[in-house]
Symmetry: C2
C-alpha cells in the first residue's frame, strides 16, 4: 500500500492523498509517465468514496503533478519544472518559523544548532 489514510490526521482525506502522491513523485517512487491508480480502484482499496479520490486527482492535475486521459487513466507528469517553486515554498515556511522563534526570544543560532544536530 503506497497510499494510506490516517484518520487521526486533521487534514481532509483528499488533501492527504494529494500530499502523499506529491511526495511519492518527488521522491521518484512514482516516475513521469507511470500510471496512477484509477479513481475507482483507489477508492475501493482505501474504502472511501470515489468522489474523494476524484477531488484529489483534480487538484493534482490542476497543480501539474498528473494528467488524466478520459477512458484511459491518470498518469504522472514530469515535475522537474515544479521543484524550484517547491523549494521556495519550503524557504517561505522556514522564514515564518524563524520569525515565530524570534517572537519568543529564540536566537537564530539555537535553530541552526538544532538543525545541525538532527
Amino acid at each position: 500500500m503506497l497510499i494510506e489514510i490516517d484518520f487521526r490526521d486533521k487534514r481532509p482525506i483528499y488533501e492527504q492523498i494529494v500530499g502523499r502522491i506529491e511526495n511519492l513523485m518527488i521522491q521518484g517512487i512514482i516516475k513521469p509517465g507511470d500510471t496512477i491508480p484509477s479513481v475507482r480502484s483507489l477508492a475501493m482499496e482505501l474504502s472511501i468514496n470515489p468522489n474523494t479520490i476524484q477531488k484529489a486527482y483534480s487538484r493534482l492535475e490542476k497543480d501539474g503533478y498528473i494528467y488524466s486521459v478520459s477512458g484511459r487513466g491518470s498518469f504522472a507528469s514530469n515535475i522537474s519544472s515544479l521543484l524550484p517553486g517547491k523549494k521556495q515554498e519550503v524557504l517561505d515556511k522556514l522564514k515564518d518559523i524563524v520569525l515565530e522563534a524570534s517572537d519568543i526570544g529564540m536566537e537564530k543560532d539555537e535553530l541552526i544548532k538544532y538543525i545541525g544536530e538532527m
Copy 2:
C-alpha cells in the same frame, strides 16, 4: 488598535484573536496582571459577535495565558512557565520543515545558510 482581524486570513476569527493576544503577551506588550479588553467591548471594537470573543478568551484561559474573574474582567497571567513548551513547539515545526526539505532534495546546509542570511 492592538488587535485586528484579517478577513483574508483563512484561520477562524477566534483563532486569530488567540494568536494575536498570545503574541502581545510573549512580546511583553501585555504584561502579567494587565487588563484584557472585555468580551463586549472588544466585540464592539472589532464589529464581531461577543460569542466569538468569548470563545477566544476561553481558549486563552484554558491554555494558561489569561484568567477571568466573573463581574470584574479578564487579566493576563504570568506566562514565563509556558515558554519552554512554546520553544519545543517551534522546534517541532522546524523539524517538519527540515524533513519536508529533505524530501525534495534540499540539504540542511541550504536551510542553515538561508536562516543565517535572514
